[in-house]
């Protein structure tokens, strides 16, 4: 339990739980907000990247001499400009990564490993000159055979991407390199014994395709390195401090030499937790002595930033006739892209986590292929594994003629359940979300012809992590909040609301800003559904410290002991005495200089106590049997938020996750040709849902408070992308009476199955 001795779980709240306008709203709707590519500096150069045309090739030589003499070219960088790091695992935002791989992903060294892999970068006085210079760089390759799919990559005769990569996690340790980076296993009990006792067993294989987060704003940054080695970096990112640390390592600079400022962000969803352009722009700026701005095109975003894994999933579940699960087993094979680090670990950990299992096993394989290195995407790994489990569970419910919610209720994880990854779960809201789904009018609404209804649940852990923030009481009674976690989903509003609730002053007196990396201690990035939970914890704690200081100043002015002063509704109040005496925050702030100086407080902590979030989605689909097109007719997302600080933002997260899941389920996929070239590098061919594709997503917020947070907050951003994949697949299967085990459920695939079974 965290040391938050006073909590607000039982207190009547005035601000938390309301829906005030967001502090950043006006700038965003008027176009005043500055995003990654919106900033410029005098004498700025344009940076462009030369990328590999091959999916797998040895780099024989790189000759930049012709480009260097082109008028207007100011600097060129290749792998020779970056230190080569040995194999070293370091935390990289959302995942542990190998520094050797990061070095090679930002700039290819011995080999190129995917089409779009960076091989050189140029800074020039204009975009045209930079592009011309790229054409003058002469690179000689020896083309190698490539491999794109996990089932091909694990074959003994597959082209090997990394000659030094031995599979970790199998005994005896292999002596021969392969594309399988790691095997992981979670679970307990005796799975074979469980299956032997089962009345019904369903075993299926599933396929999911590689999908991109689809953030609207491409990666962009502006770097400026001065003659004395001080670097300023402006970029679109989910974690300025993480960018600082990686760039300092990659460029041999100290953390104090780089100041990173996060721009407003046009979507990230996990994809902006790693560095791509940032170290290149810094290196080009350092070499040229001028600021360098770089932006990815949409095609570059698709080919060269990190999507999430495509995968093969095998699931086997055994149940008793009453629907009780007696054994669950799965094998997950996830594409990592060109370097190890697929989110197969968390995928395996949460595959069966919504359920109270007695015999469970989840095995995962992290497999490299000639595709871009995967990055985090909302609940990394979870949607894929839980898609398989939730689909099999639906088929079992059908075979047992059980209601799909009832079978989930019968097996639902609850407080005290041992999670498949080991520890006992604290209070969670799985049962509550299922009960809310059952009671929702959507669940009992009639269906039309060719329509089907699907149900699926989802689990995500949520996290805490290193966080710091500060609060300043200004002399006019307004309040400044400096936060270190990038605001990607309305967290400035939520933080101001918690500070407002604590202080007892109106929220519009509180100005929250996102600080740069020089203004606060280290902050882990915004991801893992941690910002409202973790930064909220530091805001509450620092606000309470500021209140203590305000009370001290009032006590000084009243010449009484501190214990005679309490804080009520934005005022210090004298407890003792006949006459009620109060002093407002503004009155105290006005005299701060005379009573000891400015009033401010900081809080830095490594936050623990995150509470898992569970969700259940209901979806109705209609299948056009002539074209195979699946339309979403009605959608309801239900989720345990712990406590919704700003319910509209929680609903927004639930709706956004659901829509991204709809895209994953129905249309999105990376399509490669036989040369390993991505063929759909734009939104015309890579089909994310638009408004006309989806109905209004209805939401129900369930609140089972997280006892470790002063307001009961859990994270909400990850979980809502998990249920849609299986919920939609289950709905299509029920509408057509044909089981679908492959995503996306795009018209040609659905039509083929309708025609041929």
């Amino acid at each position: 339990m965290n040391d938050m001795t006073q909590n607000n779980l039982e207190r009547a709240l005035k601000i938390v739980g309301t829906r005030p306008p967001r502090p950043d709203g006006v700038d965003k709707v008027t176009g005043r907000a500055l995003f990654g590519s919106d900033k410029s500096l005098p004498n700025m150069l344009v940076g462009r990247v030369l990328r590999s045309p091959y999916a797998h090739a040895k780099i024989i030589s790189i000759d930049t001499s012709k480009a260097e003499v082109l008028n207007g070219v100011k600097s060129i960088v290749t792998c020779a400009d970056f230190e080569d790091f040995p194999s070293e695992f370091v935390p990289n935002g959302e995942m542990i990564v190998n520094l050797k791989d990061i070095t090679r992903n930002i700039m290819a060294r011995e080999k190129v490993l995917y089409v779009g892999h960076t091989v050189a970068a140029v800074a020039a006085t204009s975009e045209d000159i930079a592009e011309k210079a790229l054409g003058l760089i002469d690179i000689k390759y020896e083309v190698l055979p490539h491999v794109l799919e996990v089932e091909d990559a694990e074959k003994p005769d597959a082209p090997v991407l990394h000659e030094d990569m031995m599979t970790i996690g199998i005994e005896p340790s292999p002596k021969k390199a392969s594309n399988v980076a790691k095997r992981v296993e979670f679970g307990f009990g005796d799975v074979e014994k469980g299956f032997a006792e089962a009345d019904l067993i369903v075993e299926r294989e599933f396929t999911t395709q590689q999908v991109h987060q689809g953030y609207i704003e491409p990666h962009a940054c502006l770097a400026s390195v001065s003659e004395d080695g001080q670097a300023d970096l402006w970029c679109t990112t989910q974690g300025a401090f993480v960018v600082r640390n990686f760039c300092s390592k990659l460029l041999g600079l100290s953390a104090a030499q780089i100041k990173v400022t996060a721009s407003e962000i046009g979507g990230g969803f996990g994809g902006k937790t790693v560095v791509y352009l940032e170290p290149l722009a810094l290196a080009l700026s350092r070499k040229s002595g001028r600021p360098v701005k770089m932006e990815m095109s949409r095609a570059e975003v698709f080919t060269s930033s990190g999507p999430t894994s495509g995968a093969k999933v095998w699931v086997k579940i055994g149940v008793k006739n009453d629907g009780r699960i007696i054994a669950g087993d799965c094998v997950l094979k996830y594409q990592a892209g060109a370097f190890q680090g697929a989110p197969v670990g968390p995928g395996a950990m949460c595959a069966f986590a919504p359920y109270d299992m007695v015999n469970v096993r989840a095995v995962g394989y992290d497999i490299v292929v000639n595709r871009p290195k995967v990055s985090a995407y909302r609940a990394p790994g979870g949607p894929i594994s839980e898609y398989g489990v939730e689909s099999v569970l639906d088929e079992i419910a059908l075979k047992l003629e059980m209601d799909p919610i009832e079978i989930r209720l019968k097996n639902a994880a609850k407080e005290g359940t041992i999670a498949p990854y080991g520890p006992k779960l604290g209070p969670i809201g799985m049962i509550e979300t299922l009960e809310a789904a059952k009671a929702h009018p959507h669940y009992s609404a009639p269906l039309g012809p060719n329509q089907g209804r699907g149900i699926a649940s989802g689990f995500w852990f949520n996290i805490g992590g290193e966080t710091s923030s500060s609060i300043t009481i200004n002399e006019d009674g307004t309040v400044g909040l400096t936060l270190g976690t990038t605001d990607i989903g309305g967290s400035r509003a939520s933080m101001a609301m918690m500070a407002s609730e604590e202080l007892g002053v109106p929220m519009d007196l509180i100005k929250p800003v996102i600080g740069d990396t020089n203004s606060l201690g280290f902050n882990f990035l915004t991801g893992g559904s941690r910002a409202t939970f973790s930064t909220g914890m530091t805001v509450v704690r620092s606000t309470r410290e500021a209140i203590e200081e305000l009370k001290k100043r009032a006590a000084l002015l009243w010449e009484v002991d501190l214990n005679q002063v309490e804080w009520v509704d934005g005022h210090a109040r004298l407890i003792a005495g006949d006459e009620p005496k109060t002093m407002s925050l503004a009155q105290i702030a006005k005299q701060a200089g005379k009573t000891g100086g400015p009033i401010m407080a900081n809080c830095s902590m490594n936050v623990t106590g995150a509470g898992p979030s569970l969700g259940t989605h209901i979806v109705d689909v209609e299948v056009d049997t002539e074209t195979g097109k699946v339309s979403i007719v009605r959608y309801t997302a239900i989720q345990d938020a712990g406590k919704a600080i700003h319910p509209a933002y929680v609903e927004g997260q639930m709706q956004g996750g659901a829509v991204q899941g709809i895209g994953w389920a129905l249309n999105e996929e990376y399509i490669y040709n036989d040369k390993g070239e991505l063929e759909n590098t734009g939104f015309l061919d890579y089909r994310i849902p638009v408004c006309s594709d989806v109905p209004m997503i209805d939401t129900v917020i369930v609140e089972v408070p997280n006892p470790n947070h002063p307001y009961g907050v859990r994270g909400v951003g990850e979980t809502p992308i998990i249920p849609p994949l299986a919920a939609i697949s289950n709905a299509v299967s029920r509408a057509t009476n044909i089981r679908f085990n492959e995503l996306p459920l795009s018209p040609p695939k659905v039509l083929a199955k309708l025609m041929h079974g």
Partner: protein
Amino acid sequence: MAQLILTGSLKSLANGVAEFNIQARNVHQLVVELKQICPVLAPLIESEGFAVAIDGEIYQDILFAPIGENSEVHLIPPIGGG
């Protein structure tokens, strides 16, 4: 006495041993003790990092998270998100 419980891959690495009685009273001491009671796990934890669940609560990179006299401790991979 507090118990370290291993499941899945970690149990296999520890030659099938699922439970260890541990003296450690915080995560820092656990890392030291682990090198003695189950040395095969130490390189994995040092190279890739691990989170520790103590009585169900997950601690990532917190060396001095307290382990109670009768605590149940699990090692799990660090968890991120998107």
